[in-house]
Amino acid sequence: MIHFDNVTKSYKTQNRPALQHVNVAIEKGEFLFLVGPSGSGKSTFLRLILKEERPSQGHVHVAGKDLSRISNWKVPHLRRRIGCVFQDFRLLPNKNVFENVAFALEVIGKPRRFIHKVVPEVIDLVGLEGKGNRMPDELSGGEQQRVAIARAFVNRPMILLADEPTGNIDPATSIGIMKVLDRINRTGTTVVMATHDAAIVDAFRKRVVELEDGRVVRDQSRGVYGQAY
């Protein structure tokens, strides 16, 4: 599903590359934790998958396609098949829960009838039954992140990228968020989650890829957060 083929990414303003010679293969339906300290290249890794950045060397393949061969005007179609969740939720404060989720479908031109059928289903899936017309500022952090996950998943992407989704949420609530991500993973969606949260990684026992200074220092199935070698 996602292949990093000897990928190096350097930014003009920094001497040290953000990623160096990274080789990672993620299969369809996998759940992968991307761990490592701040600045180790986790976000760059995710941005490369979205073609927000392009590698300085090497190739990134997503769903069998070499991203360097996808023309710019086709990038939106790539992103429609990838959902994204962030630490800061990125909800629209002037839209309610339903509208926030529906927005993702409206802007890719889905018909209204389809939206009214699909959005409530996804809101239920993330555990926000009956909260469709709440505004984001009336929700707790955990609930807001559920809305963000619903928005990322509503178009049924092949891949869900989550960048520190529990970073702003207390540990008890985080478990709930992880259950939602797990539920999404069980529908066959590949999930890549960058995180600092050792407790979560240890509890879930999924595949772990650890980055340090832009290099992969560990790639372990059913791994834990750290010091487990």
Partner: protein, 301 residues
């Protein structure tokens, strides 16, 4: 869905920078009105030129007792002078037709032309206006040799070339047209810059939305369309205001000028309508293109 969504986005965008939008509309309106006025004046000049060039005449006024020209010697032109002149004119290759206008005919024409100001008519008596030869030229531009030949002939008081008078008049109109266009150019430049600023503000205001649109894979056109249409809508409203201004300038400026200066040909409302359509389209296009170019700088897609 799409249409409604886009319209909603445009409305939100325009309302959020209301002051910018209003100033943009005013600027576009003035610019378009000036461009339109320039076009109208040009239309008027062209229409009157073709009308007048058909009728243009060289008038040879003959000596009368009241003539101030010393060569007339306070004497009326004799019949012999007139015959000689007529013969000379008949032999000139540039001349298409010659008519002789008697004093009575001249007075009747004068009364007719100035019938709206009776006091002026009453101050002139029959016989005050000299008799004349009216010469129609084959090519109105070729008046010089004819005028040269006639000046100083016995019995000739004055030679008046109507084209000279018209030229002055057209020069005034051309000057007006150029002035309108010069101001319009500045206004257009201001409008383009304002569109740029409005779009930039708009893009900044909606960076959350556009960011999310990018993430969920909205196409570039879809992301940019509301901004471009925002510019276009402002341009359209400006153009409509300009249309009102143009109708006013037609009825207050051109028609008034036409009344005062006795234009033979009136500009029809058809021409005004064409000018309005042209300037509205121009305004909309200008704003849309300016937004598009600004977007490329401020909205990374």
């Amino acid at each position: 869905m799409r249409v409604q969504f886009v319209l909603q986005e445009i409305w939100i965008g325009l309302r959020r920078n209301l002051t910018m939008t209003v100033s943009l509309i005013i600027t576009v309106a003035i610019a378009m009105a000036l461009v339109g006025t320039g076009l109208l004046i040009r239309g008027q000049v062209n229409a009157s030129k073709s009308y007048w060039y058909d009728k243009i005449e060289v008038s040879v006024f003959l000596c009368a007792k009241s003539s101030s020209n010393p060569s007339c010697n306070k004497q009326e032109a004799t019949q012999a002078d007139k015959d000689a002149l007529k013969k000379q004119l008949g032999g000139m290759s540039q001349v298409a037709a010659v008519t002789y206008e008697t004093k009575d005919q001249a007075y009747a024409r004068f009364k007719d032309r100035f019938s709206s100001s009776p006091a002026f008519v009453n101050s002139v008596r029959s016989g005050d206006i000299p008799d004349s030869f009216r010469i129609r030229l084959k090519d109105p531009q070729q008046y010089k040799p004819v005028v040269q030949a006639l000046l100083g002939q016995k019995g000739v008081d004055q030679v008046i070339n109507e084209q000279e008078i018209l030229k002055k008049f057209f020069n005034i109109l051309n000057g007006l047209q150029n002035a309108a266009w010069i101001v319009a150019v500045f206004q257009l430049a201001a409008a383009v810059l304002l569109v740029g600023n409005t779009v930039r503000l708009s893009a900044f205001n909606r960076r959350r939305e556009t960011g999310i649109m990018r993430l969920v894979g909205a196409s570039n056109t879809y992301i940019q369309m509301p901004f471009i249409l925002e510019g276009a809508v402002a341009g359209l409203i400006g153009g409509l205001v300009a249309a009102v201004l143009l109708v006013m300038s037609k009825s207050l400026l051109i028609d008034k000028l036409a009344g005062d200066l006795q234009f033979a040909s009136q500009l029809g409302w058809g021409t005004v309508l064409a000018v309005i359509v042209l300037s509205v389209c121009f305004g909309v296009l200008l704003c849309a293109i300016a937004s598009f170019l600004t977007l490329r700088r401020y909205l990374r897609v």
